[in-house]
């Protein structure tokens, strides 16, 4: 049985999230539900039906095709468009609607790919990775929900001298994730907040496991670690937060971090999934001056810090 994982996006020529020019591979499924998430289509474990209003002609062929009665017509902004009952839709495996949609307004995000098939795509850019010192970065979703798959790809790339980076939220079982942790040359580890209750409020889960995993990584693989610190309005947009984090990371012997200021670029995706944008302080911006001050605070704690975004 070949190894496979659900992939919901592959982006080539990426310049962020690692050295050189990279290919980003997004794996589906995440244990957290962060309110500011910019890849909401990657949260659920299975493929997601997306509907793009701008492409839809309102022909309702999808309604006629649906075998579950999951599509109804509704009038929105003066035109008739399909309204999808997500619960019914997700239980369906036939997806007759997709074939009948003439405009591509309905599209399924996420498909199972074997390691073989994914590697065939990645292999084509090995010259590019060689020339630029780049490689492959796994993101998601949470890629470490598929540790064997990640380790498999990383091993194949390793044979060409190409490195693999993993971006993770830290919410996973240590033993299960071990092969991928071992195979990755670098781990971007997200640290949202230290308060367990606040963490639960903004992400749906407390942070005990995350902190325990981070501490253990700090002890065993400190050189691979870069800590990603999202700066989210209402959650982590204070100087005290930066000081607190700085002290903790320095205490654990972690040396590198990056600040990721809040953006709304994923907001349009929620509409395609039929969901409301969940982040409530979403209209607030992070002042650039605050980001600089937070960076200074972290540097004072002895860390090397970049600002990405």
């Amino acid at each position: 049985m070949p190894r496979s994982a659900p992939v919901f996006d592959i982006q080539s020529l990426a310049v962020h999230d690692g050295e050189g020019l990279r290919t980003l591979v997004f794996l589906q499924g995440c244990p957290l539900r962060c309110s500011w998430c910019s890849n909401p289509e990657g949260q659920a474990a299975g493929p997601q039906m997306r509907w793009h209003a701008a492409k839809c002609s309102g022909c309702l062929a999808c309604r006629d095709a649906c075998t579950r009665g999951a599509v109804m017509a509704e009038v929105r902004d003066g035109r008739t468009v399909p309204a999808i009952d997500r619960r019914l839709c997700e239980a369906c495996r036939e997806r007759a609607c997709l074939e009948r949609c003439p405009t591509g307004a309905l599209a399924l995000s996420g498909r199972a790919m074997t390691a073989e098939a994914l590697f065939k795509i990645l292999r084509q850019d090995i010259r590019l990775y060689w020339n630029t010192g780049g490689g492959v970065t796994f993101g998601g979703g949470e890629p470490l929900l598929h540790p064997d798959f990640v380790a498999d790809i990383a091993g194949r790339l390793r044979a060409y001298g190409v490195g693999t980076v993993v971006e993770t939220c830290g919410e996973w079982d240590w033993e299960a994730a071990a092969p991928a942790l071992e195979a990755a040359e670098r781990i971007y580890f997200d640290l949202k907040t230290l308060g367990p209750e606040k963490h639960r409020r903004f992400t749906g889960r407390p942070n005990e496991t995350i902190l325990a995993n981070l501490k253990r990584l700090a002890e065993t693989r400190p050189g691979k670690m870069i800590i990603s610190l999202p700066v989210i309005p209402g959650l982590s947009d204070t100087l005290e937060h930066a000081r607190e984090i700085g002290a903790l990371l320095a205490g654990w012997g972690l040396r590198r971090a990056r600040l990721l200021p809040y953006h709304r670029l994923g907001i349009g995706k929620y509409e395609t999934l039929g969901r409301a944008y969940p982040h409530r302080s979403g209209d607030r911006d992070v002042p650039p001056a605050l980001v600089v001050a937070m960076q200074d605070a972290l540097i004072s704690a002895g860390l090397t810090v970049t600002v990405d975004g």
């Binding site: 080539s12 310049v15 050189g20 949609c101 084509q124 850019d125 590019l128 630029t132």
Partner: protein
């Protein structure tokens, strides 16, 4: 509105440059008939002279009498017209479009599919026209009542004497397939007659012009005449003597014209109260009055360069007339002045910035449809970097400053291009990356080795060292050899998508019903592909044959005497460039655009259509513009497409590429060499698309065809930009003269020096396979472009790369703006 600003934004390096730049941006476009009136006045008197001497005399007579205009703050003087943004209407090339415009008649059939920009300096034209002092001419120019009267009179005089009239007389009577060509225009298989602006696409021999001066060339002509008459049998050589006499006449007049600027500067200096400006005017006067002799300092050399460049520009109706390897031939004057003459970097930069503004001031007027095709751009190309004769990287301090000047003063002209080669200095490469990050779209990047292979294959007698040294760009993406390549290279474009329509419908154009040639209607992929190839071959052959006849008219009516005399080896051979005076006569090209759509269409037919019934259904779907056939449309759109590293499409591209090149190369040009295959787009994608119905690649009726040569059709690149590059690498660009690949980056993708390095690494990876030829980048946030569309007044100086050239975004026609926005943006 939220958007990511451009990372690099320069500003003029001195208040003087700012003043000149602001003046340029505020000026409307104006027609200036002065040159034409003088030229015509003399032509009436010398109409029966030998063709070369007549041409020289008319041009010389006009040059000597043009009004020299100097403007406040300028350090380099000289203009093509009396206005900041003036255009010369060359009725001696084509009078018909001028007369039709004056009589407010419908222009060519292609006008129906052309649209023009409306913002910026064009908006200013319409505002001023309402004041009543000027009238509007050709949609975007102003013309004064005096100039209009004179232009009208001249155009009537030229209506039966201009190049177009002479050409039409020749080909419409002598050419057996004249009907095919005329119908080809009606159905927009070809771009409109190119007669109003056929010249350009070459670079003068500035090395010689600066090195020995016009005086040296005049002496050479005199010596040649003497030699000729000293030999027995000289009577057979009269055509040569005519050329040398014509050359002397024009070279002398060019000096007089240049010296007139010097005298005007002196007169201004006498009246000037400010001592600083007085000194500047005296320097300007000295620099102009020394024109004809070898210059000493950098400032003087720049002034001489500019006057010579302008003199060549005045002589003909040029598009693509270019600067060439500026950082090579100017370097000796720059270095010497830096080392011994006290030239500072600041001063050099200021001069280069002022020079950019001078280049951008030149406007041209041509028929309405050609305006639309060129988006008003003159395609003046400045080439930097590359190799020296012995294969060393050729960039230097001046190369860096030329890029910096373009960052500081982001004018559309001259377009900057870089001959990329792995050894270019890191400083120069990083500076070029900075230029890209201003979002202006230049420099564009060209792969040196691919062109060397192409040119060496066609002209082995020139040798590798020679080609390395003189490799330049004549126009947006057409490489030529500086100072020695024949200029009038092409008769316009062939519309591949229209050929596909003819193939699909048995030779009938579905839009107009015109039957070009009756053929069986294809019922499957194989017969469709075969029919397309057959029509392509016919369209190429006839286009070449037609143009060969027109070029005889060019040689008889408007041979370029000045330009020939200052290029190799006209004087030595005693021939102007139309009569074989150039070292390289293998430059005439056959151009086409839209091949990507044909590739996608054939790939889709192959994947989706499984027999004559399905083919008929497809034709019905196309006729209905996909209405009622939405599912078929979906399947067609999902079929393999070029630009995804998918051999199902890329293999078809490779086959057609080779077929096209072979078909073009079979045709002889009018100079006794073979035609050279090329592909370009400029702005043909809009009119070509408008003239075509829905096509089997999934295009809807009227939708623009793909821009570029190897750029994917907008929206059809599903596998990301790396796959676009891999597809581009699959075709052998050394077969053609040219090539074009657009990539668009979001500003955040290339931030900082790390972003620059990544950009450079990307270029290196693309070029190292030795197949890809060109790549250019747009680095702007598409939200900013939409904002600029809504509020053009706030984005007057926003420049974007269109297709082989850069343009002020707000002056582009809406359809081209949309396409720039739509080009898949790589948000990384």
């Amino acid at each position: 509105m939220d958007f990511v600003p451009r990372e690099i934004m320069g500003s003029p390096s001195s208040p003087r440059v700012q003043t000149c730049y602001d003046r340029y941006l505020a000026e409307p476009l104006i027609i200036d008939a002065e040159y034409l009136c003088l030229y015509t006045e003399r032509h009436r008197q010398v109409a029966f002279w030998e063709e070369q001497e007549r041409r020289a005399e008319c041009h010389a007579y006009a040059l000597e009498r043009l009004t020299p205009v100097l403007r406040e703050g300028e350090l380099i003087v000289g203009g093509k017209t009396r206005y900041v943004r003036g255009a010369v209407p060359y009725a001696n090339y084509a009078a018909d479009y001028i007369l039709r415009e004056l009589r407010r008649e419908q222009q060519e059939s292609q006008d129906a599919v052309t649209d023009l920009g409306t913002g910026g300096g064009i908006a200013r034209v319409h505002a001023l026209a309402e004041s009543g002092e000027f009238e509007v001419f050709c949609h975007k120019f102003l013309i004064s009542p005096q100039d209009k009267a004179c232009l009208w009179e001249c155009a009537e005089y030229w209506s039966d004497k201009c190049m177009q009239a002479e050409g039409d007389r020749l080909w419409k009577t002598h050419y057996p397939h004249a009907g095919w060509i005329e119908n080809g225009w009606r159905i927009v298989l070809y771009t409109a007659p190119h007669d109003p602006a056929p010249d350009g696409r070459f670079v003068l021999d500035f090395e010689t012009i600066l090195g020995v001066g016009l005086d040296g060339l005049i002496d050479r002509c005199k010596a040649k005449i003497k030699e000729t008459f000293a030999q027995p049998g000289a009577i057979e050589e009269t055509a040569k003597v005519h050329f040398w006499r014509a050359a002397i006449r024009v070279l002398e007049a060019t000096k007089t014209w240049a010296h007139n600027y010097g005298r005007a500067a002196l007169a201004l200096a006498e009246r000037e109260a400010r001592p600083e400006r007085k000194a500047e005017l005296e320097t300007i006067a000295a620099n102009c009055l020394s024109f004809g002799r070898r210059p000493a300092g950098f400032h003087e050399a720049l002034q001489h360069f500019w006057l010579a460049y302008l003199a060549g520009h005045l002589e003909g109706a040029h598009l693509g007339y270019s600067v060439g390897r500026f950082d090579r031939y100017m370097a000796p004057y720059f270095q010497a002045d830096r080392e011994h003459g006290g030239l500072t970097e600041e001063r050099a930069l200021e001069l280069l910035e002022l020079l950019r503004i001078k280049h951008t001031e030149i406007e041209y007027v041509a028929s309405f449809s050609w305006e639309g095709l060129g988006s008003g751009n003159l395609f003046q190309n400045m080439m930097l970097g590359g190799l020296t004769e012995d294969g060393q990287p050729a960039d230097n301090e001046l190369s860096l400053l030329a890029v910096q000047a373009a960052i500081n003063v982001p004018t559309t002209q001259p377009t900057l291009s870089v001959w990329w080669t792995p050894g270019l200095s890191p400083e120069f490469l990083l500076k070029c990356a900075e230029g890209v990050k201003t979002g202006v779209g230049f420099p564009a990047w060209f792969n040196t080795d691919v062109y060397l292979k192409h040119e060496l294959g066609r002209n082995p007698q020139l040798g590798l060292g020679f080609i390395r040294k003189y490799a330049a760009m004549g126009g947006c993406t057409e490489p030529i050899l500086e100072g020695c390549s024949y200029g009038v290279v092409q008769p316009g474009f062939i519309n591949h998508v229209k050929l596909l329509e003819l193939a699909l419908h048995g030779g009938r154009d579905p839009r107009t019903g015109i039957v070009m040639e009756e053929r069986p209607v294809p019922g499957d992929f194989e017969s469709l592909a075969a029919a397309y190839r057959r029509f392509l071959e016919t369209a190429i052959r006839r286009w070449q044959e037609y143009w060969n006849v027109v070029m005889e008219a060019h040689a008889r009516t408007v041979p370029l005497i000045f330009c020939s005399a200052v290029m190799r080896d006209s004087i030595e051979r005693g021939r102007n460039m139309d009569r074989g005076g150039m070292l390289n006569n293998a430059t005439p090209t056959t151009l086409s655009s839209g091949l990507v759509n044909v590739v996608n269409a054939l790939a889709a037919v192959k994947a989706v259509v499984d027999g004559p019934a399905a083919m008929d259904e497809l034709r019905a779907a196309l006729a209905a513009d996909w209405k009622g056939y939405e599912l078929l449309h979906r399947r067609i759109l999902d079929a393999p497409k070029w630009g995804n590293d998918d051999d199902a499409a890329d293999g078809i591209m490779r086959d057609l590429w080779a077929f096209y090149c072979a078909a073009v190369e079979r045709g002889p040009n009018y100079l006794g060499e073979r035609y050279d295959p090329s592909m370009l787009a400029i702005s043909t994608m809009t009119p070509f698309g408008k003239a075509c119905g829905a096509t089997p690649d999934g295009r809807t009726a009227g939708e623009p065809v793909a821009d570029g040569v190897t750029s994917p059709h907008p929206g059809s690149d599903r596998n990301g930009p790396a796959a676009v590059l891999r597809s581009a690498q699959k075709v052998d660009h050394s077969r053609i003269r040219g090539g074009l690949l657009n990539l668009k980056f979001h500003p955040s993708a290339l931030r900082g020096v790390d972003g620059s390095r990544k950009l450079l690494q990307l270029i290196r990876t693309l070029f190292e396979t030795q197949t890809a030829f060109q790549v250019q980048f747009n680095v702007v946030d598409s939200r900013m472009l939409r904002e600029a569309q809504a509020h053009p007044e706030a984005y007057r100086d926003l420049i974007v790369r269109v297709a082989g050239f850069s343009a002020y975004f707000v002056e582009l026609q809406k359809s081209v703006q949309d396409q720039v926005i739509e080009r898949t943006e790589h948000v990384l």
